[in-house]
Amino acid sequence: MSSLNVQRIWTIIQFELTRLFGSKRGVVILGAFSCIWFLIYYYLISSAADLVSSGSFKDIVISVFGELNLLNILEWGIPQLSVYWIVAMYLLPVFALLFSCDQTCSDRERGTLRFILLRTTRSELLIGRFIGQVLIVSILITITLSASLILALTKGQSISINDLGLACKVLGNLILVTLPFIASMSLINSFVKSAKMSIVTYILLYVLGGILINLLSYLVADVSLLFYIYPGEQIDRVLGFNASVFDQYVLPTVQTIGFMLVANFSLKRASL
């Protein structure tokens, strides 16, 4: 990725942001996203938080959370944040995939990329669109996280500075978890022709790749290490909020950089 022009990348990022926040289609998507999260809050987070903070179920909750290595989370002052963290950890990667499934593929199929690439390099476009998607997902995470804090306030919980610091850590960790998912979509977008195909390809690679690695691991000892390529491989270990630096920071960062480098290689050689 030689001689990247920051101004052009910033222009692409801004245009990406208007795709969600400045178009009718984006507003419809945001509406659907809000409805889903309203249901999650209403039926899951709110009642689960009541359960977690309830004295009568404390022993059961400690037992279950202990089994799942989540006792650390129980100590958080805001039970809504604890439940949000667990739910978001599994749901947000799915939303990240759905939001970022059309980074370049539709534009390439339609020919729009031919107009854009007379004015910017393929690497700049790839990075600009990736950062744009990361910002969009980050904004959505911030909104849903804020909603969980507001929910806590409506339940009479007080929020201290420490709680806000913890919320910022949750935000940072959730963004970090979603990065490899968005980057993997940047890569898939470099060779598929539509958003639907990018989702189908992701599922196929995820499922078939998993089966293949499992089969090969019977024959070759270290093949299971290939699971480290998978976005979200560390989620179960990170969930307890006491994971190693490798799982929490190094693995998702390396995965993201790796996917972006391969995506850049693939997009540079693609015919438009």
Partner: protein, 299 residues
Amino acid sequence: MSLLVEVNGLSKNFGDKQALNNVSFEIKKGEPVALVGPNGAGKTTLFSILCGYLPYDTGNVKIFGSSPASSSTFNKLAALPQDAQLDPAYSIEEQLKFYAQLQGFSRKQSVIEAHRTLDLVGLKDNYKVKPLELSHGMRKRVSIAQSLIGSPELIMLDEATAGLDPKHAKDVREIVSRLSGEITFVLSSHDLSELERLCDQVLYLENGQLKTHQTSISIDSESYLTLRMKTLDNKFIEAVKSLSSVTDVNLLQGKEYLISYDPTLQSSPLDIEVLRLCHTNNWSYTQLFNGKTLENQLF
């Protein structure tokens, strides 16, 4: 004269099919260049390689001395790619603003530039319209407008007037003609009369090979006249052949005659003599062309 495009030994295959075979040519700053050839000859492939959309197999391609799609060609090279469509989610103004900003225009300047280019192609009243609300011809005009953003030195137009109504096709030809002094255009079209009017240099591709690379369409103009008549008269050929410098007269397709002559034998300009002959015999003509038409030169 500065060299804009330099292509040497360019070849490109799609599987077993050879789209371009050892193509070499140069384009210098100046008059418009025509890229001509039958369907499947490799014109769009050549355009795509020059714009950096397609990788090539062998050869060497330089645009303004750099590789295609290199950032040093931005703001200098513009193009109308065939069949490329704008994003249906945004208005045409928003998209042209985005392109202008990528080319370095400020937010405010990009609005002015988007309006300027849309006005040039007659879309003044459609700034806020989305591409799918426009007709095919209007969308083509927006695509032409995006190629005029900034001050490019080379614009490649692939089938620019295909699908346009006669008025707007004429407008596009006028834009090309008007800007030709400052911008070098490369035009691909099946409308040879259009290219004839606009271009001074022809690249003729056939089966992926560059068959003709003429530096001037009117290269034969000193020894041929092409005369299109309203009606045919049996005496016409004999009468024209009797003129002193005429060496041969052939009836081509329709009512078109190709008159060959030797300029050294002329006592007075042959075109004047031929027109006088028509007038004397009451023969009505529709067009007199100095030289062979592009169609007759190539096919």
